[in-house]
């Protein structure tokens, strides 16, 4: 026998002014099974909650309806109160008579009638509620970090430092990411490698971090706390356990002219190579697209010279599975290559700037390599075409950024700062040189950033010209830069020796594919979407998957590091619990009526429906039925509405509850 108590809240005047609460209470007590009804000024207050608790005890209530504000507001409060009185919290339901009644209607009579209707419907519904308990899911306290740039490194070190195991997967042969390519960093002009490489080594040596380089995430199954990840470890053709990193193979390799990825094509590397001297791990890989042995079947020079017999031409990709509880995605960015049309047809390219056509038109990362002491010119600024020192350099900002007609609408954020840094580094190295910067606006929001740009202009005498460049072309060994000074309102023409383009930051070309693998949303540019832009900036909408660094939007180093630590702390918050607790609003299968049509499986967006075989005691198969993985089920109820035999129901929103709610209209 149901004994229902109804508690009508005045919410001060918020409800009481439009809904005649005493009348409502007097009316609803007449409803079948309602044994107690009362109105009170503030039901959510301590005395209000006590009123509910006392009534449960005194009137032996086994279900409660609170007519008050939206369930989004105080459902938890009242369920907690009911629970404190010894009743199951899921035996409490809310009738929303504030947001959807008293606040949206003026007429007292109408609003009162509506409130009574809403309560009657809720009373009918609560009759079919039954006690539920939170679902507990165990947590694998191990994290996967995808991407070994500065964000991934920071996240891995933070989680490992807290005492949990970390799997770090990097698709390139070495960790370090773009930061390892940079010469100096703004606004302090710290040497990038000097601050980064100790961290790379720390990752390599950390007992809690397992590093997979030259590897990619192949598939991800499972859910928050319980992911099963398959990692493809690509064949290096070098046995990692035997290689000592002596470097003899790379010296003796007859192929010398493959463009170096690390130097952005400004230098060459052999077919068997380590990307850069400080690479972690210091183990070479064979680029089979240029290796003579893989092309002709002859050579094997590296194998001959290797004293440890570490070269293995027969090596195959291997698949490794790991169980993890949280995933941090830190896959970073790419620079927009402006000479070609992008894969997105909306990107029209910037052929007029001559990138790819003129050797001395380079992009930002190429300039980093020119300025780097470990770069192809050992840090001397020498232009690529004839290795002469350029005396006049033009830097063009916003190439592809803030340009919806030819590039992307968004601001790439870091270019104003790195262009100021480039111009400054150039002036520090070429004292008699001239540096020009074409800009749209200077965006230097950040600690010490504005001061840094001012320093470039005032102390290093970099000439800033506000305006766009229309064309770059070659004439008598010079690059003619034609543009406009929009502050002076005059056309400008500069005879430059080198042009540096600050091209847009874009998402990794495979970003969307990885997002599909992980089941996380991304924006139209391929950047991963955070669940809330203000309050949950490092969480993806998939539970247990967090975002760090430039895979989410253009980010500079301090922001990437901060995001990484934030993402790590989100993973650690998860690991701080023994079990995950979640609302028991999940689907449940009635195995006796299920016919195994699996329509539910087809409509489930979460792969939560599994195939279960029912067997008799002898082990003979009786039938195949659907089964719900409560860890994966999110409780949408689409399966419930789809099932032709009504054999799957959404607990908390089952057919009886809804039908009786409707019937009480």
């Amino acid at each position: 026998m149901m004994r229902i108590g109804v508690f009508v809240c005045h919410c001060g005047e918020n409800i009481g002014k439009t809904v005649d609460c005493p009348t409502v209470a007097k009316e609803v007590i007449k409803l079948p099974n309602v044994v107690y009804a009362i109105d009170y000024k503030y039901m959510c207050s301590d005395p209000g909650q006590n009123l509910i608790k006392q009534a449960i005890a005194e009137h032996k209530l086994n279900a409660v309806v609170v007519a008050s504000c939206s369930p989004h507001m105080h459902e938890k409060t009242f369920r907690k109160a009911v629970s404190a009185a010894g009743l199951n919290p899921y035996m409490c339901e809310i009738a929303n008579i504030r947001e959807q009644c008293s606040w949206v209607h003026d007429n007292v009579e109408e609003a009162t009638k509506k409130a009574i209707d809403l309560i009657r419907m809720t009373v009918e519904r609560v009759k079919f509620n039954f006690p539920l308990s939170e679902i507990k899911v165990p947590i694998t306290k191990k994290a996967l970090v995808i991407g070994g740039g500065i964000a991934g490194i920071q996240a891995a070190l933070d989680i490992a430092g807290a005492g949990y195991k970390v799997i770090l997967v990097e698709k390139e042969p070495s960790i370090g990411g773009h930061m390892s390519q940079l010469s100096e960093t703004f606004p302090t002009l710290d040497c990038s490698q000097c601050i980064l490489t100790p961290r790379m080594v720390e990752v390599y040596q950390h007992p809690n971090i397992k590093l997979y380089t030259y590897s990619e995430v192949e598939s991800v199954d499972g859910f928050i706390g319980n992911f099963k990840v398959t990692i493809r470890k690509k064949a290096r053709y070098v046995k990692e356990d035997l290689c000592t990193g002596c470097g003899l193979c790379t010296q003796k390799c007859p192929i010398k002219r493959a463009p170096s990825e690390f130097d952005e094509g400004l230098s060459n590397r052999p077919a068997i190579y380590v990307p850069f001297p400080q690479a972690v791990p210091n183990i070479p890989v064979i680029d089979r697209t240029v290796c003579t042995y893989f092309k002709t079947g002859k050579c094997q020079m590296c194998k001959k010279v290797c004293g440890r017999d570490a070269i293995d031409f027969e090596q195959k990709d291997t698949l490794i599975t790991e169980d993890v509880g949280a995933i941090i995605v830190a896959t970073g960015y790419k620079l927009y290559k402006i000479d070609k049309k992008g894969p997105d047809s909306a990107v029209k390219g910037y052929g007029e700037y001559g990138y790819g056509k003129y050797k001395d038109v380079i992009d930002g990362l190429q300039f980093e390599r020119l300025a780097s002491a470990s770069g192809p010119t050992a840090g001397e600024i020498l232009r690529p075409s004839d290795r002469k020192q350029p005396k006049k350099v033009v830097f063009i900002q916003c190439v592809g950024s803030r340009d919806p007609s030819k590039g992307f609408e968004y601001c790439s954020k870091i270019c104003c700062m790195y262009t100021a840094k480039h111009a400054m580094l150039y002036k520090h190295k070429v004292h008699d040189g001239e540096a020009y910067v074409f800009y749209m606006d200077i965006r230097a929001g950040g600690k010490g950033y504005e001061e840094f740009v001012r320093r470039a202009i005032e102390e290093d005498h970099v000439k800033y010209i506000r305006g766009r460049v229309s064309k770059v072309y070659e004439k008598k060994g010079k690059l003619i830069v034609k543009g406009e000074d929009t502050l002076a309102g005059v056309p400008v023409e500069i005879e430059a020796d080198m042009v540096v383009l600050a091209t847009a930051i874009v998402a990794q070309p495979e970003a969307a594919k990885l997002a599909q693998t992980l089941g996380i949303p991304y924006d139209k540019y391929g950047f991963y979407a955070e669940v809330h832009p203000k309050l949950r900036p490092v969480e993806s909408s998939s539970g247990g998957i967090f975002l760090a660094g430039a895979c989410q939007a253009p980010r500079d180093i301090p922001e990437s590091v901060a995001m990484a630590s934030a993402a790590a702390s989100k993973a650690l918050i998860l690991f701080g619990n023994e079990n995950l607790e979640r609302e028991p609003i999940v689907a449940k299968v009635n195995e006796s009526t299920c016919v195994g049509c699996f329509y539910c499986k087809k409509v489930c967006a979460y792969n939560a429906i599994e195939i279960k075989e029912l067997k008799d005691k002898k082990g003979n198969l009786i039938k195949v039925v659907a089964s719900v993985n409560t860890g994966l089920c999110q409780g949408c109820g689409t399966c419930n509405a789809t099932c032709p035999s009504k054999s799957i129901e959404l607990i908390g929103f089952n057919d009886e509850q809804i039908f009786y709610q409707i019937k009480a209209l």
Binding site: Q100, W103, V104, L118, A605, C636, A641, F653, I658, L665
Partner: protein, 148 residues
């Protein structure tokens, strides 16, 4: 239908994340709309069984509204698409068996569209008020029930 004092009963089946929250927003913004609507909150419009709509008409509703997240915004990825498909099919079924399908409404109202919710409810209420009580349904329902 000539009854000038007719006040229709409207039932709205809405999802918890977009439309219900949007309707809450209309309340917190103190927007006003007609009081004929009775909301039934479900986690997702994907949960809406066409039988709910039948039951609503049977229980005296003169109009039914289904409202959820905008396409692409579903909290559960694709529940709203399933809802839309079912709604279209069900509406055609109503038409096929000779029941006035124009009393069945569909809308996308997001959590930030309090104003849109107000407009939708007023429009649905006005349309149904103009159409009069859903006596056809009750007549047909009665006939079918009597004939077993």
């Amino acid at each position: 239908m000539g009854d000038n004092n007719f006040e229709p009963k409207i039932v709205a089946f809405v999802c918890n994340w977009c439309t219900y929250t949007g309707a809450d927003l209309a309340g917190t913004s103190r927007m006003k709309y007609q009081s004929n609507v009775r909301m039934i909150r479900l986690p997702c419009t994907g949960r809406i069984d066409p039988m709910f709509i039948v039951k609503a008409f049977e229980s005296g509703a003169d109009g039914v509204l289904v409202s959820g997240c905008h396409p692409g915004d579903c909290h559960y990825t694709a529940g709203n698409f399933h809802a839309r498909r079912r709604w279209i099919l069900f509406r055609q079924l109503l038409k096929f068996i000779g029941i006035d399908e124009s009393r069945l409404f569909f809308s996308w109202v997001s959590a930030s569209e309090g104003k849109k919710w107000v407009d939708v409810i007023n429009e649905v209420t006005d349309t149904v008020r103009k159409a009069g009580p859903f006596s056809d349904y009750h007549r047909i329902n009665k006939e079918y029930t009597l004939n077993g």
